[in-house]
Symmetry: C2
Subunit: 199 residues, 2 copies
Amino acid sequence: MSEPDTRQAIKDIALDLLVRNGYRGASFGDIAEELGITRANIHYHFGGKQALVEEVLEDYAQVTLVALRQVWSTENSSLGDKIEAMIGVSRKRFQHFNAAGESGQPWSLISRLRQDADLLSAKGRQMLDHFGSELLAIFAAALSTAAERGELAPNAQPDDAALILAAIADNAAPITLTEGGFERLETIYRGLKRMIEKS
Amino acid sequence: MSEPDTRQAIKDIALDLLVRNGYRGASFGDIAEELGITRANIHYHFGGKQALVEEVLEDYAQVTLVALRQVWSTENSSLGDKIEAMIGVSRKRFQHFNAAGESGQPWSLISRLRQDADLLSAKGRQMLDHFGSELLAIFAAALSTAAERGELAPNAQPDDAALILAAIADNAAPITLTEGGFERLETIYRGLKRMIEKS
DNA sequence: TCATTTACTTACATGTAAGTAAGTAACTTG
DNA sequence: CAAGTTACTTACTTACATGTAAGTAAATGA
């Protein structure tokens, strides 16, 4: 296999296992077996586990933030439409993880790795923090614009609403998913929408 | 040490390590060292790791649900007072974990173990699910009563609000805590309160 | 075409986890 | 006071985890 193919294949499997099982649960042995290569080969390409996870995290954060900025860009769509788009993104992610077998929940890689922060490199931890600030900034900007446009309900304050949305979005598999499946997450977003949006 | 003392001491340390480090991060070795006993002694008292975690989970769920039912009992207090009481409980838990060294976040044992669900016994998983239903039931009852009393804002629907509260409460260390500390969680609760409460 | 680099594998070192079998000192009880 | 029983410890085994050193076949390039 050519060099970039193998590197990418390793990162793909690693992402999947990291999201499902966390830092400790994504072993080089499992990744290697899945790909039919040896553990040492992963070391050859990435050096060590922290370095591999850093790269996976980097890619994930970049792709995710781009997608979120797209959905929450303040042009063109109403606040309600943005929240509906968010539901669509979440549904897609949920279905992906359910399709791939395993009754597991669609944890966000970020919130998952935050629980293993002590095992990450300093750089890895810094990336988690950075993702958090960026995520919040995206929501804050969109809600601020929505407020200017008079799209918020009288009780809703833009900064509060941004924080709540960030908490829900970052941590997209809270209690509510264990029993109710995706429908519950959808209900949470819609409920928030009704509370935020001007009626 | 007398039998019940040792058992309880093991469970106390185990709870602390489980909340901080998750299932894999709470090793018998660490628990034993902390207490100045041997790993084998823990096996003597509990049989194995899954059994120990089951007991810790059982105790935690029971205590937590009793405390939550107390706060959210529908007599005597307004919805706003209940949310303020909830903030108080969260602050206490946050301070406990920060006082005990470690910059770690005050994860709920439940949401933490939910990420390691595959390592738990079937009984353990069932306990997680049960906790989830109970938590939601508590909020749903309180919000329903609040609605009857006319305490909700026009945009807030009681079932939606209960689900959002459950999501925040169950998962009390989302993104928002990593940078802002407890103040952010407080802001989330207060923001939700403003959106829910009749002004 | 010979030397070097690339992309691997094999084999091993090291650390750490859970779990267990066998022994023991102290307390309990008939 | 002799015979358990209780509450442990010691000394293992087994199973994986990351990581590394040494070797190799195939491609590359001077």
